[in-house]
């Protein structure tokens, strides 16, 4: 049962990759998909390892990432 997960709004992502840099567990990665603005949005591995540390969300200039955590 995952302790936490993130939701990335692909339309807000501008592929700056700061979230990829921030994630200590390398759970976020680039894709070759395109959003409507012409950026390649990043995606998060669907997994059990996310701790909900929010470092990715804090680093994201666009607030494209929302973080959910088990209480």
């Amino acid at each position: 049962m995952a302790k936490a997960r993130i939701v990335i709004d692909r339309e807000l992502c501008k592929e700056c990759h700061l979230c990829i840099q921030a994630c200590k567990k390398s759970l976020i990665f680039a894709t070759i998909d395109l959003n409507s603005k012409g950026y390649h949005p990043v995606v998060c591995k669907d997994n059990e390892e996310c701790t909900g540390c929010t470092l990715c969300a804090i680093s994201c200039p666009e607030m494209a990432i929302e973080v959910y955590r088990e209480r």
Binding site: E11, L12, L18, T54, A57, P61, V67, Y68, R69
Partner: protein, 252 residues
Amino acid sequence: MKKVFSRPKSLKSTPFHYCAGCGHSIIHRVICEVIDEMGIRGITIGVPPAGCAVVAYNYFDVDMLEAPHGRGCAVATGIKRTLPDRVVFSYQGDGDLAAIGTAETFHAANRGENITVLFINNAVYGMTGGQMAPTTLLGMTSTTTPPGRNAVLDGHPVRMSEILANLEGATYIERVAVNSAPNILRAKRAVKKAFQYQMKGGGFNMIEVLSQCPTNWKMNTVDACRWVDEVMSKTFPIGVIKDTGRGHKDAD
């Protein structure tokens, strides 16, 4: 599961027009998080600059008054003297604050005007396409210093935080960066302290934010963030420049 990170309420939901990785986007959010946490949205009035953030009123859900280029500190002075119990901040870039607006910034600090200045330093003129700024580093290329900034021809980069710290009226000045999560969190604490000081009548305070500008630095965002640490902060050291603690009794 509980949502533990989302957009602050005092930040409008308009997607940012800023470039990918721009420091403006991050510091806008940080300021709004502080406004939310302090519950001061209703009494905050901001003064946006001429620069990339000229349309800051599209993002900050607080009352805002546009200032002519460089005059943010004078306009903020007029507002704060008229409504002393509001939280008044000026948000300015390096050209706005340290070139055309040098006198207004210096004298607002010297008079100890009880305002908070957010000084967004990206070492270049962003909106107009990358010309030299007062804070452009030696050797740094720009569209008006194609071979790189030369001390003899173009002068040295200006450290406004250190200069203003010499004035008695300036009571709290800190330089922060937004190029990594720890730095962003530090920046948020500094902004909160600045607003708390203002609310206690603490005099002029300024937070200088080293802001990555991938577009005009001609780097990708990750490299630009690294450049802030490896190069920019050597000329503009991060940390508290001055803190007299005046008005700080309950400041964080």
